[in-house]
Amino acid sequence: MNIVEVEHLKVWDTNTGKVIIHNSSFEVKQGSCMAIVGESGSGKSVTCRAIMRLNKPWIRQSGTMLFQGEDLNQLSEPEMRRKRGKHLCMILQNGMSAFDPSCVIGVHIRETLQQHFGWNTRVIEQKIIHAMESVMLRHPREILNQYPHQLSGGMLQRIMIALALVLEPDLIIADEPTTALDTISQYEVVEQLIQLRERMGCSMMFISHDLGVVQKIADDVMVMKDGEIVERGSMHSVLTEPKHAYTQYLVSTRLELSNHFKALMQGES
């Protein structure tokens, strides 16, 4: 059963006439994690924003995007809005800019949960604090009353994950969540995302350019270059037997780095 089935997705810029995504087709299996790998400008984020229909107004898209059987492209804007957050959740790359800088974190959490569930403030606080504790955020009550610039990138990422825990969506789209973090925070965030999947059984689309992070969390992988999908398949087969030249190049450069690291560590011990 596929939770997402995209067919002949075409995304183009009406201002410049440039085509960003030419003709993408792919599926995401229910309960699995699909990684989208590629360098900057390959169209990974545009594809995911297209699924959520959150590209800029001058960027148009066509094709079918089936989510749980429904074509998202055909929905009206209010219907789409109801799906966002509750069924399709997004985790952004830069936590610092994801929240309104003039409001404390709690405001966004409250507004989102009120919009979808209509709970009162006490219930919202209870639920979000429970979720924040399970993503290893200490002093959740104080954090809710702080401004985004007072928190670190890793903490803000985990707040977004905590919000996803409460919302219990069917699909989580994580747009390069670890790119702006240091290695330790990267590890923690990836751990949290793995646990999130295990706990909720949701499906995930994980965008990254870092193969090291991706192989830990993803089941399937999709390699994109210049707006086209050049290779698709299960994580194991793509990494061990890459068929396209570009994938081979990505894998080999990554191996080169980690081999050197391993040799260094082994040499020491």
């Binding site: 924003r49 959520m52 959150l54 809005r81 109801r82 799906k83 966002r84 957050g85 509750k86 399709l88 959740c89 997004m90 952004l92 830069n94 800019s97 994801a98 929240f99 309104d100 800088p101 003039s102 409001c103 966004h108 507004e111 989102t112 919009q115 979808h116 401004y147 610039h149 977004m160 919000l163």
Partner: protein
């Protein structure tokens, strides 16, 4: 927050002292001997040397510089700006009512400027690129290129002369406010609405808007967030608008014969009436500094990041 306010206010004190000093020095930069200026202003037919010496002694110009400054400052703090060279009346009795008249005109105009700028800025940002946006921007270009007195003259000619609807000059009833306020509003709204518009546009492209939409928030809530952030920038700019309009009404007041500071200052400049010029500069500079401080405080209140400056 409280400590920020206190520190900010404390900073203005040395600034005010320096400003008062510069204002005082300014007058003494005149190439002419101050006594000569006084006598000329009073239109004394023959200026002899002993007359100059007498005047110098009478007005205290022969004393050392710092003592003159000290005396002047002490007097100013009690609102005694000296006497006019021309009429001999105390400066404050001339300036006080004039200041009030100008202030009334400024405040009324400022309200309209702020309201119209925000309205136009928000609407144009939301309809960016469309016909409404482009026509408003095009029209505002030309309106701000027009000298305000030219616009004023055209309006007087049309509304007062041809249609005989509104008074041409003076400050009689609320009707005499209409034309000057329109001219001032038109001149300044064109500039300020662009600030609001670009602030809104840059906020509309921010990540937090994307995340808010991705979380499923209604468009109304998202727009409120955008507005809140955009207007923050605008508030401090609008705060500075008031003293700027206050100082720039000079020309408008002359065209409409409004009995305010503008008219008074031009008259004093033409007759070299230094005490009035001095008082005018000091009052407006102090107003400027005070509003600057206020705008910084408001900015810090709305944007917590700025409080870290100290």
């Amino acid at each position: 927050m409280g400590s920020y306010i206190v520190k900010r206010i404390l900073l203005t004190i040395p600034l005010l002292i320096i400003i008062s000093f510069i204002t005082f020095v300014l007058i003494n930069l005149s190439p002419l001997d101050p006594a000569v200026v006084v006598l000329q202003a009073q239109e004394v037919p023959q200026i002899t040397d002993e007359l100059i010496a007498q005047t110098n002694e009478a007005l205290g110009f022969d004393q050392p510089f710092m003592i003159q400054y000290a005396n002047w400052i002490m007097a100013v703090l009690q609102l005694d700006f000296g006497n006019s060279y021309v009429s001999g009346e105390p400066v404050w009795s001339l300036m006080g009512p004039a200041f009030m008249n100008t202030l009334k005109l400024t405040l009324v105009s400022s309200v309209f400027i702020i309201a119209l700028s925000i309205l136009l800025g928000v609407i144009c940002a939301m309809r960016e690129g469309k016909l409404l946006d482009r026509s408003v921007r095009g029209i505002s270009f030309f309106l701000t290129a027009m000298p305000s007195y030219w616009l004023a003259a055209i309006m007087i000619w049309y509304f007062s002369v041809k249609l005989d609807l509104l008074p041409t000059s003076g400050m009689d009833s609320y009707r005499s406010y209409i034309l000057p306020v329109i001219v001032i509003t038109v001149s300044y709204t064109g500039i300020y609405f662009r600030t609001v518009r670009s602030s809104m546009l840059s906020n509309m492209n921010e990540d937090y808007v994307l995340y808010a939409r991705a979380s499923g928030l209604s468009e109304k809530k998202v727009t409120l967030h955008i507005l809140k952030n955009s207007l923050q920038v605008a508030v401090s700019i609008f705060c500075m608008a008031i003293p700027i309009v206050l100082g720039s009404t000079v020309v408008i007041e002359n065209v409409f014969a409004w009995p305010g500071l503008g008219r008074l200052s031009v008259k004093s400049i033409l007759s070299r009436d230094f005490p009035i010029i001095q008082a005018y500069v000091l009052m407006l500079a102090v107003t400027f500094v005070l509003f600057n401080t206020l705008s910084d405080i408001i900015n810090a209140a709305m944007n917590p990041r700025l409080r870290k400056e100290f």
